[in-house]
Point group: C2
Chain length 304, copies 2
């Protein structure tokens, strides 16, 4: 099995699980209890099943394999994490937040279903993530405590001291002077927390020891921060190429980024350091980390 084949297998499992957990509904006003009304379901599916690389759930499944656990234990948590990621995108796109009309070439949720329903679709996906994880935890009676801890690992990194905290600081920091502490906070929580969440969740599901838990945490944080710095660098290169400039700093429109704070060269150096540290963190897993190394490599070499 090579890397792209393995990646496809994980993505297939994610898509299959999402489809199983949130199948299409026909009834606008269901008679039976426990059934999602058709229109609400459709608005959730529109954003959840829009494709994408499924980075976070793939990380969770790959970590289960790396820890010699079973992906079956992790598939619902992986799907739930994708629901959380998706709700955050729907709400991010709303007027009052980023106010975007398009995401990956498709109309955003509120452009199709209206603002009211987009708010509900987001709330619905967030709540449903927990409905799914709680139901799943109760299915694994022998591993119940670990499933609850995995759900908690996801909840804490998605929440008000995690991703939502990062979004809040990001919103407050628009058009402010760059500040290293605040920028580090935003990157760590807005981006890295949701990449660390699947790794720590998998560690609980598979009963990993403290050393491996720490290594996964370090890997996730380094990948998340490097990813964010590279993203900002790619934006600058894109803008510079487009505008024929030496540097695209002024095209950053006041957005606080690592390159605007320390300069492009220092940002590139910092990114290299972080990727090296991410790979070093995987040493403890030996050959079992082959997919995770490929994953880091792939992410590092990406283009816009």
């Amino acid at each position: 099995m090579n890397y792209p084949e393995q990646y496809s297998l994980y993505v297939d499992l994610v898509e299959k699980t999402l489809e199983r957990l949130l199948p299409e509904q026909e009834d606008l006003c269901p008679k039976e209890t426990g059934v999602i009304p058709a229109h609400l379901c459709e608005s959730m599916r529109y954003s959840l099943l829009a494709g994408g690389k499924r980075v976070r759930p793939v990380l969770l499944l790959a970590a289960c394999d790396m820890l010699a656990g079973s992906t079956e234990q992790g598939e619902v948590s992986a799907a739930a994490l994708e629901m959380i990621h998706t709700y955050s995108l729907i709400h991010d796109d709303l007027p009052g937040m980023d106010d975007d009309d398009y995401r990956r070439g498709r109309l955003t949720n509120h452009k199709v279903y209206g603002v009211g329903h987009a708010i509900l679709a987001g709330d619905g996906l967030l709540n449903y993530a927990y409905e799914c994880m709680l139901a799943d935890a109760l299915r694994w009676k022998d591993n119940l405590e670990n499933h609850v801890k995995a759900a908690q690992a996801i909840a804490n990194r998605s929440g008000v001291a995690g991703m939502i905290a990062g979004q809040s600081l990001d919103l407050l920091s628009e058009h402010m002077e760059p500040d290293a502490q605040r920028l580090g906070y935003i990157h760590m929580h807005k981006t890295a927390d949701l990449l660390t969440a699947p790794l720590i969740a998998a560690a609980y599901l598979c009963g990993a020891d403290e050393e491996k838990m720490q290594a996964l945490s370090r890997f996730g944080a380094c990948v998340g921060l490097a990813f964010q710095i590279d993203d900002d660098l790619l934006d600058i290169e894109g803008d510079a190429a487009q505008l024929g400039k030496q540097t695209g700093m002024d095209a950053q429109r006041g957005k606080m980024t690592w390159p605007s704070l320390v300069g492009v060269d220092a940002a590139k150096a910092r990114s290299r350091e972080l990727w090296d540290e991410a790979l070093a963190a995987l040493d403890v897993f030996g050959d079992a980390a082959w997919f995770m190394r490929g994953f880091a490599q792939q992410l590092r070499e990406r283009k816009k």
Copy 2:
């Protein structure tokens, strides 16, 4: 102990627990992990600690007492349920939903913190409800499974086949012709589900048997539906008194209500039936239901 004294005791416990779970923060950009940034925390506290009758958490605590359980087992679930109720109000008030500037005489969350932050404050409270319940479940190792089931009872009734489903149908049904099935669906899910949730959660926490579980479920559903019908009747009486009319039906501005569907007299009869059925459901608990009976009585006799 009489009814008002007992109610105050429950409310005090709810307020104390909310304050403990979500204390004020000073740091806008916290250095330690697991700490909520000050501004986000303030926006959540603004709506969560705005007073109110705390109907849902009081129901949960009272049900624990009625089932001879401990309110200590239920206090975090009760607080979490109030977080869920509060997030739904914050999001309901947003432009694109009800677009309200005031709630109970205070500015709505988005009028104080802006739409973007109000969305995040709502998302934050919803996610934090699960963070709190999951952490609490892990504290009660001997009763872990029941705590997970209680969290699930709350999640399912708050979610996409529960409260959110009711909100979605309500949003879709504005200015539509009344229809008994749809109206019943909206009332059951938008209002009654979040009143049944605390009772079923308490039943799991206290290990209640199937008969008592059923009785609590019936009590919650009847109270929720009666409450909603009375609310619509009070609106009509208020409008009629204000406008000096015999009936306030035309003042309903196209909102689908039970009185507009079956007429005022039939709505009053239906409300009486439901309250009687609610009280009858409590018979199985004997004298232990004294507070729950008082609660139903109080709710039944309320004025706008």
